[in-house]
């Protein structure tokens, strides 16, 4: 009986936590189904199922452009991040060389400084490279946020692989790169997937740089597009459209969080604690 009571108590607590987590998301979803005058009412349950907001957004050229920009930026950032991190993570985890401590120290320092510290300099650099108001500016600036962190994650994962594996490969005459790509990378596939997803999420959600380095719809990502949907009076704010757009960019991430839950958790804690 006590075991039963314990179980009930556990799931009651779990339900309460879930309610707090889902609270704003639930109301975001309800609001996304309401348009016209209905969106300016308090609603607790979906009374009507209108997909008007979604159909309007998914045929809107600017919103589709923003969605495409978000996908292009996040995918490119994640790909470059993974490539750079595999090479650097392997060097830091496996090769002892003078300056190794310095490199990891610098990475740690860079991954901790506030984003805005680089903002004026980045603005200047991006203007100098002619990248202002382009997708390139966002890929460029997001690398600063992902790379130092993921190199740490990678180095932590590589250290967990037994050294004998690559040592025996090198004894057999395989070079560093061959060893890395033939032996380490296949074992690391789960870590690579985790890093890809982490970098993708960071870039997909990033707002400060995306807002500052874009001027027109050409380079806007969805978070920026959403932040610009507004009205001068409360009755003009397109709440339905804002919430529908939020649902569109939230749903893929909720799915990813569910699929990669374990890996994301281990990736985050590997970067933070083992480092």
């Amino acid at each position: 009986m006590t075991a039963m009571r314990y179980k009930i108590l556990y799931w009651l607590t779990a339900t309460a936590i879930t309610a707090v987590v889902l609270f704003p998301i639930y109301f975001m979803f309800i609001s996304s189904l309401r348009s016209g005058a209905e969106q300016f009412q308090v609603a607790y349950f979906p009374s009507v199922l209108r997909l008007e907001n979604y159909s309007r957004l998914l045929t809107d050229k600017d919103f589709l452009g923003a969605l495409a920009n978000s996908i292009v930026v996040s995918t490119s950032v994640a790909l470059v991040t993974v490539m750079v991190s595999i090479l650097a993570g392997y060097a830091i985890a496996r090769i002892s060389f003078t300056g190794r401590a310095l490199v990891s120290g610098c990475l740690l320092a860079i991954s901790m400084f506030p984003q805005v510290a680089a903002l004026p300099g980045l603005f200047n650099t991006i203007q100098g490279l002619g990248l202002y108001n382009s997708v390139g500016a966002l890929i460029f600036s997001h690398l600063m946020l992902t790379v130092p962190f993921t190199v740490w994650v990678f180095a932590a994962f590589i250290r967990e692989i037994p050294v004998d594996l690559d040592e025996s490969a090198m004894m057999d005459g395989a070079g560093r790169l061959r060893t890395l790509f033939r032996i380490i990378v296949p074992i690391l596939m789960p870590a690579i997937a985790t890093t890809f997803v982490l970098a993708f999420i960071i870039s997909w959600n990033e707002f400060l740089y995306a807002l500052t380095f874009s001027l027109t719809p050409v380079s806007r990502t969805v978070p920026v597009a959403i932040s610009l949907l507004s009205g001068t009076t409360p009755r003009e704010v397109p709440f339905g459209a804002i919430n529908a757009a939020s649902v569109i960019i939230t749903v893929p991430l909720v799915i990813v969080a569910f699929i990669f839950q374990k890996r994301l958790v281990s990736g985050l804690s590997a970067g933070a604690i083992k480092g």
Binding site: M28, A117, G121
Partner: protein, 303 residues
Amino acid sequence: MLKNVHRRPAISAWLLLLPLIAAVGATAAWPLGRTFVMSFTDATLGNPVTSFVGLRNYFYYEDGQAYGLFADPEWWLAVRNTVVFAAVSVSLETIFGLLLALFLNIEMPGRNIVRAIVLIPWAIPTVASSKAWAWTLNEQFGVINDMLLRLGVISSSVAWTASSSTSLLTVIMVDVWKTTPFMTILLLAGLQSVPRECYEASRIDGVPPLRNFFFVTLPLLVPTLSVAVMFRTIDALGVFDVIYILTSNNPATISMTGYARRMLVDFQDLGGGSAASVTLLVITGTIIIGQLMLRRYRTERGE
């Protein structure tokens, strides 16, 4: 020959690090250096030709009048907002994160579902969750006012994000909702690295659970806790998106980052924006160095 063989690992290491150095150099080190240099110039967004102005962006005195960042009451307001924000939200996140981590550490079939749900606020875009909160907190159409009115907690609708008496508290609440998962993940990892025998030994000895927590688990968790608190504090001091989405550039809530960005984008003042950014960097750097020194001191004392 022998020398050559010895040097080879180092060469291949630097070759493997080349892409990293290029990426970090171009996107982090160079911009950071530029920010620092520009904070001593009169650079504006439209004018790349600049001259050195010394510390004038930070502070200067002329005809009995003080100018520059440190003489701007709005900057000090931003500092105050950010410090209050960081202190309160990180404290709350630590408490809730610890409770959640302890809860998620309980062995129970199906707990992975709860773990995945807890991860959601961290994983979804801040813009989306902040907009969702803004909607539920809306003065006229939001469910929070409606619920509180029906329950009789408030007698008239509250403009949560607009009124200067509630706006800072509101952004803190939304941030706690959003970042507690991060704290939970780190602390959960810390909890799982605490050897099981430690609890079990004291449980067999008949130590009550609460005592067990304070005298066994918590001390073992301190290293993780201090790293997690430092990470979150640094992050919170650089806060921007939650505050910007919920309250725009409102002086009652504007953060140091918001202030620096406003100088840069709205006033086109690269020099001034850089000075504000450098000041925030110095504050954050001081905290990191202080924390690292404290840790070294502790390890040296063998704690």
